[in-house]
């Protein structure tokens, strides 16, 4: 099913013509209304009228997350504050929060894009949608909520936390779709089992999962345990929130990015040069329709590639490869790039381990050390020391083979790895703390 047939299946040439029209309008708008962009265009020696083709976008300056922080809170608004009806903000763990404003039309567009996403995930207006993303300044909860209502589904604004109660309501209200982080779905599953509830036996059939990196193996794990289809949703609060892209249930091979609203580029994160279609690099997004806070060439830090081949669902929007890592999360261990998702794949391929692991990075002298903590569950536990030592050795060997770094593998008791009720904390980097 497709929510917005006209747009989502637009032939490529028509889509690009629409993008160019919107891009030209956008550069005019930001140049006229946002001092930051006027200055950065001027510094780069570029005028809005220089943008004649979509490829010309490469001459425009980038926007970094730091630019949002530097203009905290309202410095990048392109409309008078009276026209802003909503503010979201992401937590600033390393400095100021990043603030995003929305006009009335921005909120409506977002709801539409989220409704499109839910339909692509297989939901219909007859579904009961349990929204377990946090409500509040975080875009997840309200974003999913407005989309579910726009679709006409029964929406349950559960928000995050109170996991035991969530399980009870999940059962009692008969939710058929859940929106949350993938790790939280596993946490819900475990909590449900402890209360004697097997989520597999509930009417739940679809999970719309996002807001943290996850892997194909984790998808299989979730689909088997919960007995649902697990769909990857993509979004960034700086760009809009959830619904920037969504996998279709027909193919489940990468999120279709909603190209009528977003112009996409893949760049080399080091040289910052655009890369040809299909190559892997950092995703850069220009918001074509955002009114309150449009962003030009926003550097998402997400490492991925775009697939422009036709999809069996009929959508013409490009599909992005599952995020292979974030340049922010990328750990550089003794000069080697390591993404947490790679470690997760290795663990799952090694022994079908539960995806509960944590990476501990320390600096001893001038040397970076990586410790991989893996929870020992009943599947891998043995009463013999040598079997567990062999397992640790095998994981260590695979990490060395696949990633080229030597890691210490430490087996830990279940649940000793912190499970936050939102995002799983995968990395503890202690290199700058001492």
């Amino acid at each position: 099913m497709i929510f917005d047939d006209d747009m989502e299946t637009l032939p490529r040439e028509e889509l690009e013509a629409l993008q160019l029209r919107r891009l030209k309008g956008l550069v005019d708008r930001v140049y006229a209304n946002v001092p930051f962009y006027r200055k950065s265009f001027d510094d780069a020696g570029i005028r809005p009228s220089d943008i004649q083709t979509l490829a010309d976008v490469r001459y425009l300056p980038f926007t970094e997350k730091q630019d949002l922080r530097n203009h905290y809170p309202y410095g990048l608004f392109a409309v008078p504050k009276d026209n802003v009806v909503r503010i979201h903000a992401s937590s600033g763990t390393t400095g100021k929060a990043t603030v995003v404003g929305y006009t009335k039309r921005d909120v409506e567009n977002w709801a539409t894009l989220m409704a499109r996403s839910l339909v692509a995930a297989g939901a219909t207006k007859r579904d009961i949608i349990h929204v377990a993303y946090g409500y509040g300044l975080f875009t997840g909860g309200l974003g999913a909520h407005y989309g579910a209502e726009r679709l006409g589904a029964t929406t349950i604004p559960m928000s995050g936390g109170s996991t035991k109660r969530q399980v009870i309501l999940l059962r009692d209200f008969g939710a058929t779709v859940i929106c949350c982080t993938p790790s939280y779905s596993l946490f819900l599953y475990e909590t449900a089992l402890e209360s004697g509830i097997d989520i597999k036996e509930l009417p739940l059939r679809i999970g719309v999962f996002g807001a943290e990196p996850w892997t194909e193996e984790m998808r299989r794990d979730i689909e088997t345990k919960l007995g649902i289809k697990a769909i990857d949703i993509y979004g960034l609060s700086e760009i809009m929130g959830p619904g920037v892209g969504i996998e279709c249930i027909e193919a489940q091979t990468g999120a279709h990015l909603q190209e009528d609203h977003f112009l996409l580029e893949i760049i080399d994160p080091v040289t910052k040069e655009p890369l040809p279609p299909g190559e892997t690099g950092e995703l850069v997004i220009t918001t074509l329709c955002k009114e309150a806070q449009p962003l030009i060439r926003y550097r998402t830090r997400d490492i991925t590639s775009l697939n422009f081949t036709p999809c069996r669902c009929g959508r013409t929007f490009a599909r992005m490869h599952r995020v292979m890592g974030r340049s922010d999360d990328m750990l550089i261990i003794r000069g080697v790039n390591v993404f947490p998702s790679q470690i997760e794949s290795i663990l799952l391929e090694t022994q079908g381990l539960t995806p509960h692991y944590q990476l501990l990075v320390k600096r001893e002298g001038n040397l970076d050390t990586l410790e991989v903590q893996v929870e020992v569950d009943e599947k891998i536990f043995s009463d013999e020391i040598k079997n567990l030592q062999r397992l640790g050795g095998k994981i260590q060997k695979h990490i060395k083979e696949f990633l080229g770094v030597t890691a210490a593998v430490k087996l830990v008791e279940p649940r000793s790895i912190q499970r936050s009720e939102g995002k799983a904390k995968r990395i503890v980097d202690m290199r700058n703390s001492s």
């Binding site: 020992v376 009463d383 020391i385 567990l388 030592q389 008791e413 279940p414």
Partner: protein
């Protein structure tokens, strides 16, 4: 002829062993025998208790990873060479002892030792054939 043992995964940090003992005490479970094997990072606690089902559930609820394994309780003659003769008859059949630990008993002429073999059924066969006394689980748990 097999006896049952539960095994518990422990991190090497203060208070974990005590936590196991506390949980079992609160559940009124009696520890009949135990052995702790450890490395610098983790340990494995093996227990013979009077109620394995209950012990396993108690510890699982307490957040521990718990396994159940088949072991053999062997009565070793309290004479010089008693243990050696038993180990010898097993190794001559290619049966390996993964680990073993003593079962403490009051007032007995023989010592009881808990064995974990790589091939439990064959070990029982060899021991029985050689006239060695194996203590059945039910007897063991209430000894």
């Amino acid at each position: 002829m097999k006896a049952e043992q539960i095994s518990i995964f422990l991190e090497n940090r203060a208070g974990r062993l005590e936590e196991v003992a506390r949980l079992l005490a609160e559940a009124n479970i009696n520890i009949r025998a135990l052995s702790l094997a450890d490395t610098s990072d983790f340990g494995i606690l093996r227990l013979i208790v009077n109620d394995h089902e209950k012990a396993k559930k108690t510890l699982k609820d307490g957040g521990f990873t718990v396994g159940r394994n088949a072991v053999v309780a062997v009565e070793v003659p309290d004479t010089p060479g008693g243990l050696h003769s038993i180990l010898n008859m097993l190794s001559s059949q290619g049966i390996n002892v993964e680990y073993m630990y003593a079962f403490v008993q009051q007032s007995s002429k023989a010592a009881t030792i808990i064995f974990r073999f790589d091939r439990t059924d064959q070990a029982i066969e060899v021991l029985t054939k050689n006239g060695i006394t194996i203590i059945p689980g039910d007897t063991l748990y209430s000894m």
